[in-house]
């Protein structure tokens, strides 16, 4: 299983659609927002957590189509599902590798983009923590979308359409936790724990659903 994690990360890094591409896409989204919102720095500060979260959300969807479709195209998927390892665990590892190559770099790049959006260091810290807790859920939910679209040669768009509605709870609790940290009238712990719970929950349910899907879509 360690071998699989290593292969996924190395392969994603070499294909160029991994870490760097996600961060660059994130950068583009974040850069475009101030132009749309205008030069009001107070408004920008207020919107910053939402912008960062939506940017991270969209960037995390990149590479989900590579998760199974590419494996199927080069014939590896057959061999991955044939082995004695539980398929669910294989998918869990693949989702984790996806997070390591897209989600984690986004979290690490957040301070830089926080400055661009006029965020205070404390707010940047909170945003990073919520992204760290929430982005794995996007990768885990993403496995389901990727498994549904595995047979479609250009399934990337469909995956985004399937996955985005499902990650709305992640977004809600992520933003609520940030609001709670900066505003004393709202709680931080509650939404944040919900966010962690969603990630843990989807880490089991996502790979489980995807494994059932892959077994049944065999052809």
């Amino acid at each position: 299983m360690i071998a699989l994690l290593k292969r996924e990360i190395v392969s994603s890094w070499r294909s160029g659609s991994g870490a760097l591409m996600g961060v660059l896409f994130f950068l583009t989204v974040v850069t475009v927002f101030p132009f749309a919102v205008g030069p009001d720095t107070r408004l920008l500060t207020q919107l910053a957590p939402a912008i960062l979260w939506i940017g991270a959300l969209l960037a995390s969807l990149l590479g989900l189509d590579r998760l199974f479709t590419q494996e199927r195209e080069d014939g590896s998927l057959d061999l991955l599902v044939m082995q004695s390892h539980p398929l669910m665990l294989t998918i869990f590892i693949k989702a984790s590798a996806h997070w390591f190559t897209t989600g984690l770099p986004l979290v690490l790049a957040t301070p830089l983009f926080g400055i661009m959006l006029n965020l205070s260091p404390a707010a940047v810290g909170v945003t990073m923590v919520t992204l760290l807790a929430g982005t794995p859920a996007i990768s885990f939910i993403g496995t389901v979308g990727a498994a549904v679209a595995v047979k479609l040669p250009r399934g990337g768009m469909l995956i985004s359409i399937l996955v985005l509605p499902l990650v709305i709870p992640v977004l809600i609790f992520g933003i609520a936790a940030i609001a709670g940290a900066s505003n004393t009238s709202q709680p931080f712990t509650g939404p944040f724990l919900f966010l962690c719970a969603i990630t843990l929950f989807t880490s089991v349910l996502g790979p489980l659903a995807a494994s059932v899907m892959l077994r049944h879509s065999a052809d």
Binding site: R7, H85, A218
Partner: protein, 205 residues
């Protein structure tokens, strides 16, 4: 070890492609699956390898004492399909090392396996630099790095030159002599003796 396939029926896209496939293979035996293009050879092999849901019938594996293995048969199989299961952007060594670690049951080392298919010089090249025939040979080396008692090979010689076909026949002969069970779909005579033959899709009119 004995592989029994009983009355197998398989469909693709809602249409039944093959039905009534039955055969028995004991350790050391080989089955050559023949038939016209589109007759359902690949479908049959994928069914036996557990990659397609069976409409009907069963695939069972028994040990020497006649006890059935509890694990699905697919876990005892090497499957070599039309595609080579190599990641384009990884080197030959990385690809083979990964499959060896992931499949377990190490047989030959990656270096030895590549030596067997005469590709030692390509070990550190990215797989997409290899020619079609070379990729196929790496896929054959993949059969040698992990130990599996059953090999299911779908047109294994496609893209190979005459010399490589000889090399490949030598390997499958050695595999059968060691007590392996071989199921191969092919149009070429592979120099195997005493094979069973399964002809698909040739019902007399």
């Amino acid at each position: 070890m004995k592989l029994i396939v009983e009355n197998l029926a398989l469909s693709r896209g809602g249409q039944q492609i093959v039905s009534g496939i039955s055969f028995e293979l004991t350790a050391g035996e080989a089955l050559v699956v023949t038939g016209e293009n589109g007759s359902g050879k690949s479908t049959t092999l994928r069914g036996v390898a557990g990659l397609l849901p069976l409409d009907h019938g069963q695939v069972c594996l028994f040990d020497e004492t006649g006890k059935q293995f509890e694990e699905p048969v697919r876990e005892y199989c090497h499957y070599l399909g039309h595609k080579n299961a190599l990641k384009q952007n990884l080197t030959v060594r990385e690809n083979l090392t990964f499959w060896q670690d992931f499949m377990g049951d190490t047989l030959l080392s990656v270096e030895e396996a590549l030596e067997e298919v005469n590709l030692s010089h390509t070990i550190d090249l990215p797989s997409n630099y290899l020619s079609t025939g070379q990729k196929r040979r790496v896929a054959i080396a993949k059969l040698l790095v992990s130990d599996r008692p059953i090999w299911i090979l779908d047109e294994p010689t496609s893209g190979l030159d005459a010399q490589s076909v000889d090399m490949f026949s030598h390997h499958i002969k050695a595999f059968c002599e060691d007590g392996g069970i071989l199921i191969v779909a092919t149009h070429l005579p592979l120099g195997l003796k005493d094979t069973k033959t399964l002809k698909i899709g040739t019902e007399p009119l």
